[in-house]
Symmetry: C2
Subunit: 213 residues, 2 copies
Amino acid sequence: MTVIPKRGNGDGGEFQSPALERLVKSLSRLPGLGRKSATRLALHLVGREDSAGPAEELVAAVTEARLRVTNCTSCGAITEADPCRICTSERRDVTQICIVASPVDILPFEKAGFFRGRYFVLGGLLSPLDGVRAEDLPFGRLTARLDQDGVTEVIIALDSSVEGETTSLYLQRLFEGRGLTLTRLATGIPVGGSLAYIDEVTLQRAFQYRRSF
Amino acid sequence: MTVIPKRGNGDGGEFQSPALERLVKSLSRLPGLGRKSATRLALHLVGREDSAGPAEELVAAVTEARLRVTNCTSCGAITEADPCRICTSERRDVTQICIVASPVDILPFEKAGFFRGRYFVLGGLLSPLDGVRAEDLPFGRLTARLDQDGVTEVIIALDSSVEGETTSLYLQRLFEGRGLTLTRLATGIPVGGSLAYIDEVTLQRAFQYRRSF
């Protein structure tokens, strides 16, 4: 009869390389990566002698990005030149400003290419539960920007989460009496979205905000 | 009426930072990472000024792992010391050798801790379709190792894929007439596995190799 040891045999169940284990741990701390995918990535990065490529390339890319990437001091977008290309472009309408939560939120707008105004990145949303209060977000810089650029229309493009709604409400109050056109993105059925698979809240909103022909 | 430009407005739909785009591309070339998860990782790595941690840590971990990690020249396991701890351990049985495809396959054995022999990593499986032929795998080094260590039992622990089966068959022929005990891992229902959810091939194998009480 074989006696199975409790667990491990002194050699552990880890790689026989503390450096590789550290790399796996370092990778698995990154968002969206578990131990398994981190192990796969680590092995790929450490690789064979003949494929030194991926690791060196990644190290160079991370180092370079850390050096070059900054946030536009005017709008908060991710940029290498400060102020960013959108804030300095002559072709953008200074009187329209679109307020987003994160720099990533600018990408779909720029990809679609219909919006000709400028942006303002809040860098977060009001969240009393997470301790994000009004003084933690750049509202002062936002109002200064509105005055400076002579902004006449503000489009609020925030998530329809509790935090997004709270922040929208705060912004509405902040802009009261400024004579601004204040709008928000429409809520409704996505284009091409199938009614059968739409969630109830979206459906209810789409019904509530129905438009006449 | 608003005329929607065809696509993009000259500012592209990418980040306004070639360095960040290069980092995203570099990350999305890694196994298992798409554009979205690569973007998320890149933003995390580039981060805010106050959280320089993850990027520096990752760069250090990759660089260190690249420097230290090697393969055991005796068994092919991932190791920092060559030959590896398993090959040099006095407590391991030299007469038993377990053949695996990849260094990662050693981990579950070592985690379970019941196997007291040594390993041999093939580093791949025979695959005529992918151009992996017998001369591409270290069969010469394997037989030399068997002779040198006086191995009496070989356990083949390869995937039950077409390539795994082909390689097992090749090994069987290679070892013919050597008077070795040649075994392979049992195929069957996993412990705790539910019959209702077992795939048909596994079920058929489990039935075919049924054991008497």
